[in-house]
Structure formats: C-alpha cells, structure tokens
C-alpha cells in the first residue's frame, strides 16, 4: 500500500455490516460486556461501533452452578449457561438505558427450538434502539436430541430462515467453530438469508482440577475464548471470505490493535472484542484509535480498504 499518509480524522471509519450501520468497526462481544453499563466507569459505550448484549432467551435463565469459569493457557473457559432475565425483562429493564445512552445495540438471541428463535425475532423486531439480531446457534436443539443448531448446515439454514421471516432487522448468525466444514455452514446461513456472519463463537473445551481429580467446571465442558483461539478464528474467516459473499464480523482472541488488523486483513468487515475486555477494559477504544491510525499512516481513505487485504496476490 504505497499511498500517501493521511490525517487520522480524514479516515472514514464507518462500516455497514449487511444493513447494520456502525460508526466504526469495533463491537463488544456478547456475554462479555453485560448490557453496556457494567464498564461505564471506563468508557462511554456509545463510542463503540456496536454493543452486542448478553444472550437473551424467551424465559429467564438462572445459568449454571459455579465454578463457571477457569483460566487456560492464553485463554479461558466459560460455562455461564446463558444466565439472563429473559426477553421481556431485557426489553423493559435494559433497553431504556441503552437507548438513552445512544448505544448501537445488537441483540443476541438463543432458542431451545426453531420456533423460539422465530418468537424472539418477532418480539425484538420493533423494539426501538435494536439495530440488528445476532443469532447464537451454539445451543442444543431440544427437539433434535440436543444436537447443536450450529453444527448442521440444514439446521443453520432453517434457523436463519425462520428468523429472517420474523424480522426486518439485519440478521447475523454467529457460527460455531466446532465443525468439520465451516464453509458449508456459512453457505447454509447465506442461503437461509443471512445479512452478515459473526465468527467465531467459542471452541468447546474442558479443564481438570487435578487436586480434586474432577472437571474444573461444574458443567464439565465450557467455551474456550481468548488469544488461544485466534489462529483458528483467522483461518475460518479466511476460508469463508473466499467462498461466501457476506460481510463478516470477526472475533476470537483479539487483545491488541495488531490482532484486529489480522482479522480485517483476512476478511472481517468489523471486529468483536470479548475476553480482551476482561484483560484491559480500554481495549475497544484502543482498537478504534489504532485502526484509524493504521489506516491514516497507510493512506487509506476508508477503513473498508483493509478488509480482505491479505488475500491479494
């Protein structure tokens, strides 16, 4: 990129992710930033491209018994168990403040059945302030023997299709990396009508407490997040970018500006930061500034020019 450097404020940082308009490409990942107010002492959530709120289900859920989290090498496992107050409480208790703060809100929904996804989509469709729906499809389908929605192309197609037919909002399925063929899953989501893809959710893992000689997590298995999974996330996004023509919200292990650049270069139009916030609450703002500076130094008039740059020959 031999362009002339620009002033940072001359870089257009806005991105449009399949209809989700964001002032910059940096979001906080679902389940790691609560409902936007938990980190209010550290920065204004309205500065973010979007806040993806904690996963929401039809009914309230108490979540799993503790221990729910454990640190692993350059990562962590979580088995929160989708603790949340249910969709009605989300709308009545949390949305008013998010609206008042001017936050771009992406709701993240999870269902036990295909029908629940449809109901959730319908219920959230006209709620003021919600800009898009992210679909957590790493949940067991209780009607299909607990097989995860996200591991079967057919079920992915059906979930996306169901949600699309119940909402006008941009629909962003969040792909599970625990699959043999991520491109097949992404293609199924595209056929189902997805407007964009979020990738990746956590890798399924576990840890053992050798002192107790038992799995550390009460739930035995948990989702692996953090820097450890970055190489897998980058690989999957690279593969999907080459074969599927949907914008990608990329994340999994971002803890620095350089990490975010890697994600954009392999094909992410925007990035999400999860575990990285626990390490450094200022990280999302640092990434926004860092991306802008990088673009300016390399003479890119728009941050969009970075997307997929590592694919060029």
């Amino acid at each position: 990129m031999p362009n002339q450097p620009l002033k940072p404020d001359k870089v257009d940082m806005s991105v449009n992710l399949g209809g989700l308009q964001m002032k910059n490409p940096v979001c906080t990942a679902s389940g790691t930033f609560g409902y936007g107010s938990e980190y209010i002492d550290y920065f204004d959530p309205a500065l973010l491209g979007a806040v993806i709120v904690k996963g929401t289900t039809m009914e309230p859920r108490a979540g799993n018994p503790p221990p729910r989290i454990v640190e692993t090498p350059a990562g962590m496992l979580n088995a929160i168990g989708l603790e949340n107050p249910g969709v009605e409480a989300f709308i009545s208790q949390y949305m008013p403040e998010l609206r008042a703060q001017g936050v771009t809100v992406v709701a993240n929904i999870a269902g036990n059945t295909l029908e629940e996804y449809g109901q959730l989509a319908q219920r959230l469709d006209h709620v003021e302030g919600i800009a898009a729906l992210e679909l957590n499809i790493s949940c067991p389908n209780v009607k299909q023997g607990g097989l995860q929605f996200g591991t079967d192309p057919d079920m992915v197609y059906q979930v996306v299709n169901m949600v699309k037919s119940n909402t006008q909002l941009p629909v962003i399925p969040k792909l599970s990396p625990n699959v043999t063929d991520i491109v097949a899953i992404a293609s199924a989501a595209q056929e189902g009508g997805a407007d964009a893809l979020a990738m990746i959710n956590t890798l399924m893992g576990m840890a053992v407490d050798i002192d107790r000689c038992r799995p550390t997590l009460a739930n035995i298995f948990g989702g692996l997040s953090g820097p450890a999974i970055k190489p897998v996330a980058l690989r999957m996004i690279y593969q999907v970018y080459q074969q599927v023509k949907l914008p990608i919200l990329g994340g999994g292990g971002i803890v620095s500006v350089r990490d975010a650049l890697e994600f954009m270069m392999v094909g992410a139009s925007a990035v999400s930061i999860g575990t990285g916030i626990f390490v450094d609450p200022y990280l999302p703002c640092q990434v926004i500034d860092g991306l802008q500076e990088y673009a300016a130094q390399h003479g890119l008039a728009s941050i969009k020019e970075l997307v997929g740059a590592a694919h060029q020959e």
């Binding site: 980190y39 729910r68 929160i80 626990f278």
Partner: protein
C-alpha cells in the same frame, strides 16, 4: 468511582515464606477506597496469565495516595506479582465490589481473620477505629511465622488476639475455638470474617447460636470483576432466585446470605 491506573510499585517485600506485602501509588483509585473492596490487577503485560487477579485492599493511605496489598504466592499470577520490583508499574482496576458496612451503634466490631484472609480486615479495623467503634481482632494462622499482620493491628491500637497451632502465640488452637472461648455472650457483637470457608462457616454458626449479625468476605474465580461476565456466581442461601455475583453483589455478603462450603474446595 472505580478507575484503571498504571500504579507505581513503591515496595514489594516478602513478609513470610509465601506472603508478600506490596505498596502501590494509586492516587486516582485511593479516594474511592472503602474497606472490603478489592482491586483487580494485571500482573504483567503478557498473555500468561491472561486474566487479572483480584486482591483485597489491605491498607489505604489517603494522604500518601497509596494502597497496600497482602498476598500469598499460590500460582503463576501471584508468582509474577512477587517478581515486580520497586519503580516498576502495574495496571490496577478498582476499587471494585461492595464494601463492609459499619456495625449498628453500640455494638462491638469483632474481626475474625484466618491466614491471608486477614487482608481486608486491617483497613476495616483502621476505619472502625477512626469512627470510634470498639474493635477486637481474632487472628489465626497455622504457625506464628505467618502472623504477618499482627504488628500492624497492634500499631493501630486495636485489641488483637492471635491463635496458632504451634502454641507460640496468645492461643494454641483454631481461631474459631478462640472465638467461643473469649467472647461468648459478653457484648453485643457485630462479626466480620474472612478466611478459609470452613472457618467462616464456623463463625457464622457461632453468630447463629448467639443471635448475632455480621458480614463475610468471599472469593470466587473472576474474569471481568465488574459484573459483566457472570463468571463469579454464588448461590444465595435458601433461595431459588439464582446466583449473585461475588465481584459486584459482594465480595462482602451478610453472614447468613450465602451458602458457605464446609469442605475446603
């Protein structure tokens, strides 16, 4: 208001075979510190350990703008912390969590600490003293060489009785036995306790027997420290209302509010 600051290490001294005392200049954090709260430290700038580590406020010097931490080296996070030298910086978030409340007027404050669980009780004792509460401290450790906070309590001028198993302190035996022996029914007492859970459970049992009230400070593995990740869950006692979060709803809870584990984890 909690904040994040790069704090200068003033000193970081070994005070027993596994314990260290670290003083940090944290002028932005200090004004908001209340006893029972904690700070969340990033022990180095690497990915190992990845997560922050929670440590209680052991002491706070508002004039000097410093906080002091007392920590036991148990794993890689605390090992990294112990390697910090004076004049280096460490990234501190805080103060976090719900602080201790003060006793109802006229009650004695009884502080029962075990091992490194003594940490949050020193700053509490200082503030209770300032507010002219009558304070008594019962402090238990395995051996007398681990009574690293004793001098600090005595310097504060609060009555402190130490229990160790080796018989080289005021009392030979468990601090909870000392509790029963020394205090039963003498005054109306408000109990504060921090230490191993079986010890705290025993203190709660003592309180139940004498109809006393008080608070307990709990630990749970943490990621965010601010209530965002829902990782540090604890079950409320006799309740189906789900889980409280130690980082935000605690670490201080009412003595009867949460289930205490009688078996060591």
């Amino acid at each position: 208001m909690p904040t994040l600051e790069s704090a200068l290490v003033i000193s970081n001294n070994q005070v027993s075979s596994h314990m260290f005392e670290m003083e940090l200049a944290a002028p932005q954090i200090v004004p908001f510190c209340e006893p029972g709260q904690f700070v969340h430290l990033r022990v180095n700038s690497l990915n190992d350990p990845l997560l922050r580590r929670p440590l209680s406020l052991y002491d706070v010097d508002k004039k000097r703008g410093t906080i002091t931490l007392l920590y036991k080296v148990v794993g890689k996070g605390t090992t990294s912390l112990a390697q910090l030298h004076a004049d280096e910086y460490v990234d501190v978030m805080g103060p976090l969590g719900r602080p201790f409340s003060y006793p109802p007027a006229g009650q004695w404050a009884i502080l029962v600490g075990g091992g490194v669980g003594i940490a949050p009780l020193l700053y509490l004792a200082r503030r209770l003293k300032e507010k002219n509460y009558p304070v008594r401290v019962l402090y238990g450790t395995q051996s007398s060489s681990e009574l690293v906070a004793l001098d600090r309590f005595r310097q504060l001028g609060v009555q402190t009785v130490a229990a160790t198993m080796d018989g080289e302190a005021d009392y030979q035996g468990l601090v909870t036995d000392l509790l029963y022996q020394q205090l039963s029914g003498q005054e109306v007492e408000y109990l504060y306790t921090c230490g191993p859970e079986p010890m705290m459970a025993e203190v709660a049992e003592y309180a139940r027997q004498y109809g006393l009230n008080g608070e307990v400070s709990l630990e749970e593995h943490m990621a965010c420290g601010v209530g965002a990740c829902l990782g540090c869950a604890r079950k409320l006692k006799d309740s189906d209302e789900g889980y409280v979060k130690v980082c935000k709803d605690g670490p201080v809870f009412g003595l009867y509010e949460v289930e205490l584990d009688l078996a060591p984890r």
